[in-house]
C-alpha cells in the first residue's frame, strides 16, 4: 500500500514510517500541512495519516481542502490526548478514522488496513456471510453451518462488526468504539469477556474456531 504520513514530530514520523515500511508498505513523509496537501493531491496514495496539529496548515484544514478537491483517499487523523471535541471535528471535516496519541503501532496498522479497503458504507447489506457463518441484520439471527446460534445483543453486534471486516484484524479499541460507542478504555475486560462468550456459542459443535485471536493486535473472523 502507498501511504503518506504528514507529521511534524520527527520521532512519531520515524516510528510510523519505519513500522509501515517493515510491514511492506511504500511510505512517503511530509513535515508540514502545506507540503502534505501538495503531496496528497499529487501522489496516488491509498491512505493518508495526518497529525491534527501541524505547522502551516493544520490537519483539519488539510483534510477539508483535500475533500473540497474531490479527493476521497482514506484519512486517519492523529491527535494528542484530551480531545473529545477534536474527534467529532475531525470526522466532520472528512477524516475517516481517528487515533489518539500515544498509540501502539499494531493499532495504527490495523486501522489503516481497515480503512484502505473499506467497502462503500452506503448500502449496508441485509445479510453478512463469512465462511459457514450467516448473519441476518434484519431478522437479527445468526446461523453457523445451517445451525441457529442464539446471541445476546452485544454479542450479535460484536459478530456483525467482525463480519463486516472479514480477514482484517479488529483491535480492542476499534471494537470498543464501533460496538459499544466507547471513546475511553475501560479497565475491565468487557471486550474479552464478550468475545469469549461469543466464541463459545459459535464454536459449539464445531472443531474450527470461527474467530482468530491475533496476539498483541486483536481479533479477526476466519474467512474461506
Amino acid at each position: 500500500m502507498r501511504i503518506l504520513i504528514v507529521e511534524d514530530d520527527a520521532e512519531t514520523r520515524a516510528f510510523v514510517a519505519q513500522g509501515l515500511g517493515q510491514a511492506g508498505h511504500q511510505v512517503a513523509t511530509s513535515l508540514d500541512g502545506r507540503d502534505g496537501l501538495f503531496q496528497a493531491t499529487g501522489g496516488e496514495f491509498e491512505a493518508i495519516v495526518v497529525d491534527r496539529m501541524l505547522p502551516g496548515l493544520d490537519g483539519l484544514a488539510l483534510v477539508k481542502a483535500l475533500r473540497a478537491a474531490g479527493d476521497t483517499t482514506p484519512v486517519l487523523m492523529l491527535t494528542a490526548v484530551g480531545g473529545i471535541a477534536d474527534r467529532v471535528e475531525g470526522l466532520e471535516n472528512g477524516a475517516d478514522d481517528y487515533l489518539v496519541k500515544p498509540f501502539a503501532f499494531s493499532e495504527l496498522a490495523a486501522r489503516l488496513n481497515a480503512l484502505a479497503r473499506r467497502p462503500a458504507p452506503r448500502n449496508e447489506p441485509h445479510q453478512l456471510k463469512v465462511a459457514d457463518i450467516v448473519l441476518d441484520l434484519d431478522r437479527r439471527s445468526v446461523e453457523r453451518g445451517g445451525q441457529r446460534v442464539h446471541l445476546q445483543p452485544r454479542e450479535f453486534a460484536l459478530l456483525a462488526e467482525l463480519m463486516r471486516n472479514p480477514r482484517r484484524v479488529m483491535t480492542r479499541t476499534m471494537l470498543l468504539e464501533r460496538v459499544w460507542d466507547f471513546d475511553f478504555d475501560p479497565k475491565t475486560n468487557i471486550v474479552e469477556t464478550h468475545l469469549s462468550r461469543l466464541r463459545s456459542k459459535l464454536n459449539a459443535g464445531f472443531d474450527e474456531d470461527a474467530i482468530e485471536t491475533v496476539r498483541g493486535a486483536g481479533y479477526m473472523i476466519r474467512g474461506e
Binding site: I84, R154, W180, I190
Partner: protein, 448 residues
C-alpha cells in the same frame, strides 16, 4: 478629546448641564420675543384708541378743540402718558408735547424719534391726516425697553446659575465616582501586586458601588477557590506520579544491569507497562480537565438514558458474573437527558468498575435509575463493606483513594471524572451511602 470627555462621569454630567442651559436659553428667548411682541401690540392699541378719541373731537370741535385737549393732557401729564403732535398743512406745529426728529408721514411708525425737554426718545406712533393738518399720537417705548432689559438680566442670570450649578455638579459627581472607584482600583492593584487575600471594602449602603464591590468580592473568592484547587491538583499530580515514576526508574535500572537477556526483556516489558500506566493517568487527568471545561463549549444532544443504562448492564453483567459478583438493574423506562452519550457511558462505566474492583466476591451491585419531576437519579449501590466515613468526603477528589483500596489497581481518578461528567451535565454526583454498602448517585435533569 470630546469623545473621551463624554466617557468620563464629569463629562457626562457637564454635557447634560450644558444641554439644560441651552434649553433654558431657548425658553428664555421665546418668552422674551412673545412678551416683547405683546407689549408692542399693547402700545399700538393705546395709540389707536387715543387717536380715535381725538378724531371724535375733531369732528365735534375741529382742530382747535383738539389742540386744546392736547394742552390739557400735557398739563395733567404722568410718566406713562402719551405724547401728541398736531401740525397744520404746512407742517407748522399747532399743539405739541414733543419735537419730531423725523418727517411726519401718515400711518403707523414703529420707531418715531422725538425730542422733549432735552430728552431724545423713541416711540410708537400713529399719524392721521386731518382736514387742516396731521395728528400724531406717540407712545414712548421707554417702558418696553425697560421690561426687555429686565427680562434679559433675568434670563442671563438663570443661564449663568444653571451653567455654574451644572459644571459644579459634574465636578462633584465626577470626584465622588472617582473616589469610590479608587477603592476598587486600589484593591485590584494590590491583588495584581500579589496580595491575593485583598477584598474591596464595602460600606454596607447597598448602593450600586457597594453591590459592585460585593460582586467583585464574590468573583475574587471564586477565583481564589479555583486557584487553591489548581494548586492542590498540581501538588497531587506531582505526588502521585512519583511512585510510578520511581518504579519505572527501578525497572530501567534493572534492565540495564540485568544478568541475562530474559531478565532484561522482562524488565523492559515491566517498564513499558509502567510507562503505559503513567500515560493512562495523564489521559484520565486530561479527560477530567476537558470534561470540566465542557459545559460552555459543547452542544449537548438528547440521550436515551434508559437504553444507555440497559446497555451498560448488558455489557458489564458478564464481567460481574465472571468475578463472582451480581449486577442487578432497576431502570425506569423513558428517561431522557441532554448530554454527551459517551461521557455518560464513561461515568457509569467508572461506577461499575469501582463496584467490580473494590468489593469482595459475592457482592450484589444494583444500578437503578428513576425520575421524579425534572430530576433524574441514577444510582449504583452495592452491599459491600462501604468506606470509612472520614474517607468518604474526599472520594470525589482527584487521586483520592480509600485506604483499603491502596493495594488494588486504580489511580483514584474514577469518581473525580464521574463528578466532572455530572457537573458538566448541569447536575452533581454525591455519595448516597458509605456504611453498610457503598452507593453513588448521579443527579441529572430530565429533557423532553
Amino acid at each position: 478629546m470630546l469623545r473621551r470627555l463624554w466617557r468620563s462621569t464629569f463629562g457626562v454630567v457637564a454635557l447634560v448641564a450644558i444641554g439644560f442651559a441651552a434649553a433654558t436659553l431657548a425658553i428664555g428667548a421665546i418668552a422674551y420675543i412673545v412678551t416683547h411682541e405683546a407689549l408692542e401690540k399693547q402700545l399700538d392699541h393705546r395709540v389707536s384708541v387715543e387717536t380715535d378719541a381725538l378724531l371724535q373731537e375733531v369732528k365735534e370741535g375741529g382742530i382747535a378743540s383738539v389742540a386744546e385737549s392736547i394742552r390739557l393732557r400735557e398739563a395733567t401729564r404722568t410718566t406713562s402718558s402719551l405724547d401728541y403732535l398736531l401740525v397744520d398743512k404746512a407742517g407748522r406745529s399747532i399743539a405739541a408735547t414733543v419735537t419730531p426728529l423725523v418727517p411726519v408721514r401718515a400711518g403707523y411708525e414703529e420707531f418715531f424719534r422725538f425730542r422733549r425737554d432735552g430728552y431724545t426718545g423713541i416711540g410708537q406712533s400713529l399719524t392721521t391726516a386731518l382736514p387742516g393738518g396731521m395728528l400724531v399720537v406717540i407712545a414712548d417705548r421707554r417702558d418696553l425697553k425697560e421690561i426687555d432689559r429686565t427680562l434679559e438680566i433675568l434670563f442671563a442670570g438663570a443661564l449663568g446659575a444653571m451653567l455654574a450649578l451644572g459644571v459644579g455638579a459634574a465636578a462633584l459627581i465626577g470626584w465622588l465616582t472617582r473616589r469610590r472607584l479608587a477603592r476598587i482600583d486600589a484593591t485590584a492593584k494590590a491583588i495584581i501586586a500579589g496580595d491575593l487575600a485583598q477584598r474591596v471594602a464595602r460600606d454596607g449602603s447597598e448602593s450600586e458601588f457597594d453591590q459592585l464591590a460585593a460582586t467583585l468580592n464574590q468573583m475574587l473568592d471564586r477565583m481564589a477557590a479555583l486557584m487553591d484547587n489548581l494548586r492542590q491538583v498540581s501538588s497531587d499530580v506531582a505526588h502521585d506520579l512519583r511512585t510510578p515514576l520511581t518504579r519505572l526508574c527501578n525497572q530501567l535500572e534493572r534492565a540495564s544491569t540485568g544478568q541475562d537477556d530474559d531478565e532484561r526483556v522482562d524488565a523492559i516489558h515491566a517498564a513499558r507497562d509502567q510507562a503505559n500506566e503513567l500515560l493512562e493517568i495523564f489521559a484520565a487527568l486530561l479527560r477530567i480537565a476537558e470534561v470540566e471545561g465542557l459545559a460552555e463549549r459543547r452542544a449537548l444532544a438528547p440521550v436515551d438514558l434508559s437504553a444507555l443504562l440497559d446497555e451498560m448492564v448488558d455489557t458489564y453483567r458478564p464481567d460481574f458474573e465472571a468475578a463472582d459478583r451480581r449486577l442487578v438493574a432497576a431502570i425506569s423506562t423513558g428517561l431522557q437527558v441532554r448530554g454527551d452519550r459517551r461521557l455518560l457511558a464513561q461515568a457509569v462505566s467508572n461506577l461499575l468498575e469501582n463496584a467490580l474492583r473494590h468489593t469482595p466476591a459475592g457482592t450484589t451491585a444494583t444500578l437503578s435509575a428513576s425520575g421524579s419531576g425534572e430530576a433524574i437519579d441514577v444510582e449504583l449501590a452495592d452491599d459491600g463493606p462501604g468506606v470509612p466515613s472520614h474517607e468518604a468526603d474526599r472520594l470525589f477528589q482527584r487521586f483520592a483513594r480509600a485506604e483499603a483500596s491502596r493495594t488494588t489497581a486504580g489511580h483514584g481518578l474514577g469518581l473525580a471524572l464521574v463528578r466532572a461528567v455530572a457537573v458538566g451535565h448541569g447536575g452533581d454526583a454525591i455519595l448516597s451511602r458509605s456504611t453498610g454498602g457503598f452507593a453513588v448517585s448521579l443527579r441529572l435533569t430530565r429533557s423532553h
